[in-house]
């Protein structure tokens, strides 16, 4: 990295536009989402009927746990329930 003139600084600043707000919020909510999903998985391991109901409608189960059912969250739950 050599010296910076103002044109180069402007070019470099332009390289880092903000990420879409919803993506950032989803990533920031990850710890809370994971906690909510852990509760679902734990209950599903004890209760076969609940597990079947969750698998039948993953989004509803996620929403019921107080977590926004974003695709990445739903997919994470699907993987854990099928593991």
């Amino acid at each position: 990295m050599t010296g910076y003139d103002e044109e180069r600084l402007a070019t470099l600043l332009r390289l880092l536009p903000p990420a879409p707000e919803g993506w950032v919020e989803a990533a920031q909510e990850l710890p809370r989402a994971r906690a909510g999903l852990a509760t679902i998985v734990e209950r599903a391991e004890r209760d076969a009927a609940y597990r079947a109901a969750v698998l039948a409608d993953l989004e509803a189960a996620v929403r019921e746990a107080g977590v926004e059912p974003r695709p990445s969250v739903v997919e994470h739950l699907r993987r854990h329930l099928r593991a």
Partner: protein, 191 residues
Amino acid sequence: MTTTRTGDLPDAAIVQRCREGDHEAWAELVERYARYVYAIATQAFRLDGHDAEDVFQDVFARAYERLHTLRSDDAVRPWLGQMTRNCCVDHLRASGREVPVDEVEDSPADDVIDQLDDAFAVRQALGQLGEDCAEVLDRFFCRDESYRTIGEALDLPPGTIASRISRCLGKLRAEMGRNMAAQPSSSQVNE
């Protein structure tokens, strides 16, 4: 008793707090690196739409799960950069598309990542300039807002915005000069 705002903490302290389960610290870590991860996915690997979003979420999910494996808490940027690169490569391979990187790190994508590392250093310097300069430069260069839009948001005439951008770029240049003199770059990646 004095408290330190999470946003003022260095990376190492943020990482430590994340490991202790501090959700505010995690939110700050995401805020600090979201643009960098996004830029690698969209500019170095040219992912768009759902592909870029999948990688973006996957990177932060992996980071959350693997934070305990980070050997140097000061090395978050290279660690996340490498993780993003790996996620992009995995994503492209899984969908059967061409991967624009070689085994050795000397490919077009890696050249872009080098540029983004420079851009990240500039962004960090921007954070040291104070809110007035940081906001006006971010709005103009990063968010591509016009003088008029910025002026309306900040309740200032467009001519003032133009002169403030010029003055703040000068301050940013001086700040970068000080930063470069103070610390030659060294990084440690452990993924």
